[in-house]
Subunit: 133 residues, 2 copies
């Protein structure tokens, strides 16, 4: 493709002004991310080890779990306690501010579960409506 870049103006490369300039949007991404939500929820019950979290969350790869935990730790939501023993032993728990976040997220999660039937019904009538056109 475009070997000659004579007129290859890269369409301004997307400003993304809002995402970049708005820190809260990034933080929101972290806590509402696919695995962020579930990790916070899992830690609501108390301290958990790495592999416990893997099993509790279910379906998450080592890589993504480690990455998610680091992001949340960096933001100050999760506390990481490493015990210098062999084999390694690391405990993860929520910080006070992390507990607040988890409450919000967990409350949302519980609400969603309570509404599953309604959503299923809505989807049903949505499909039905498409037929009638």
């Amino acid at each position: 493709m475009g070997v000659s870049n004579e007129s290859k103006v890269p369409p301004m490369a997307a400003p993304d002004v809002n995402v970049a300039s708005c820190p809260s949007r990034l933080i929101l991404e972290h806590v509402t991310s696919r695995w962020g939500v579930l990790v916070l929820a899992a830690l609501t019950d108390g301290t958990r080890r790495f592999s416990e979290l893997r099993r509790t969350v279910g379906g998450v790869s080592e890589k993504m779990l480690a990455q998610t935990l680091q992001t949340l730790e960096r933001d100050g939501f999760v506390h990481r306690q490493a015990h210098p023993v062999i084999p390694p032993h690391v405990d993860y728990s929520l910080t006070p501010i992390g507990e607040e976040a988890a409450r919000q997220v967990w409350s949302l999660a519980r609400w969603v579960e309570s509404r599953v039937p309604d959503v299923m019904a809505a989807r049903d009538s949505y499909e039905k409506a498409k037929q009638g056109r």
Copy 2:
């Protein structure tokens, strides 16, 4: 695609048992998705048109906005009212159940914003701690 499939075992294509078998996890993804959160928040203030939403949310492409709105409509969170005029006029608003979702999400968003300073501070000391090692 795959012309010769003699020994081209695709690494089992990821089971994803949990995601597939758990409808609430999918719904959660929808409302906590990057643009889902912001669309719900934007509609909290009342009915909005497509291009109004684009401006209110900021940084969202037509494609993603349309896609997000459709997903939320399908799940019964958003009501879509199309007026058959030229030029086209479409109004989006929250359903009762969508308002509940928006309250949860919006409350989370406001909480995040109130905690931005704390997170910034946490990141700071996180970086500091890395230096000392």
